[in-house]
């Protein structure tokens, strides 16, 4: 039996189809989850996809956090359910207090979509085991509110505990300490601003490549789930 990976659709989610496709590409079973359902349909892991849930009008992720499905996900995450929040999903995770800090308006005020060079700094999370520590990768970013911020104490703690998962090599938006993604203390919950689901196929990934640097996020979780 293969691993079941759920992808939540909130009203206003955009990259849910892409996330489902990425899950399928690595051989896991993609399961669509709906924000109103508390039932997680026995998934082994969850992806909160990118997009503009509820238009992101109030604050990115602020309203989605209160969805019924999030109640179950928050409870599950506290007990070890692997959760990956991508972009809007990362914002939802911060709003839900599964991850510390917050994401605010980019330094240049504008929405930025570009292929971004990153460094993987932690390979001990559920979602990054297939990378090597310090590996440089190319993954698209696309957001208007992607600037990570947290108080100094939190930032120091994240660094000390090795919970900074990916960093920008050339910081596009003023994120504190070049942070592009972080994990919770247990390493099962990861939030990322870059979109690994947009870097999984030669045909549609970054050009000029490498085009498929996002795949290991999905292979990492698959291996962990199949091994478990």
């Amino acid at each position: 039996m293969s691993a079941r990976v759920g992808v939540v659709t909130f009203p206003g989610s955009q990259d849910d189809q892409d996330a489902l496709r990425a899950v399928e590409l690595v051989g896991a079973e993609p399961i669509a989850l709906w924000h109103r359902e508390r039932d997680l349909r026995q998934v082994d892991a969850v992806v909160l996809p990118g997009g503009f849930s509820y238009g992101d009008y109030l604050r990115a992720g602020a309203i989605a956090r209160f969805s019924p499905v999030m109640e179950t996900i928050v409870a599950g995450a506290r007990e070890g359910l692997p959760v990956l929040g991508i972009c809007n999903g990362f914002q939802v995770l911060c709003e839900s207090h599964l991850l510390p800090g917050a994401l605010i308006r980019n330094g240049g005020m504008l929405f930025i979509n570009r292929d971004q060079r990153l460094r993987v700094d932690s390979v001990s999370t559920a979602w990054t085991a297939d990378y090597t520590a310090g590996q440089q990768i190319l993954i698209p970013i696309k957001n208007g509110e992607g600037r990570y911020t947290a108080d100094e104490h939190t930032l120091d703690e994240l660094e000390a505990e090795g919970r900074v998962v990916v960093r920008y090599l050339d910081n596009p938006n003023g994120s504190a300490r070049d942070i592009a993604g972080i994990a919770n203390a247990a390493g099962n919950v990861v939030g990322l601003m870059p979109h690994p689901e947009h870097a999984v196929e030669e045909l549609t990934g970054p050009y000029p490549g490498p085009a498929t640097d996002g795949l290991p996020f999905f292979t990492s979780i698959l291996k962990r789930l199949v091994a478990a």
């Binding site: 509820y54 238009g55 009008y57 109030l58 309203i63 209160f66």
Partner: protein
């Protein structure tokens, strides 16, 4: 030093998708009886010089030129509010 507050809101006849999104979310969070929500912007500006009419006039010009899009928004300019009005409430846990 003059401390001025500029409030910018969409004109009443203009659709406010942001306020509506909040309003629609509230019943789901258990808040009923919310008749209307409008969302706008608040700017706190510190200008050098005394807190006089000239400072207000400058702030008004800034609001008109930059802070508000007067095609769809209206604004109000006033001096730093009384203590009670300050946004200093400690964040509740």
């Amino acid at each position: 030093m003059a401390r001025v507050v500029v409030d910018v809101m969409l004109k009443p006849e203009i659709l406010d998708p942001q306020g509506q999104a909040v309003q629609r979310a509230l019943p789901r969070l258990g808040f009923d009886g919310i008749v209307d929500v409008r969302q706008g912007k608040r700017f706190e500006i510190e200008l050098d010089g005394p807190a006089d009419e000239a400072a207000l006039a400058r702030a008004r010009e800034i609001a008109d030129k930059l802070l508000a899009n007067t095609v769809i928004e209206q604004y109000a300019v006033r001096f730093d509010p009384a203590e009670a009005d300050r946004v200093t409430e400690p964040a509740a846990g």
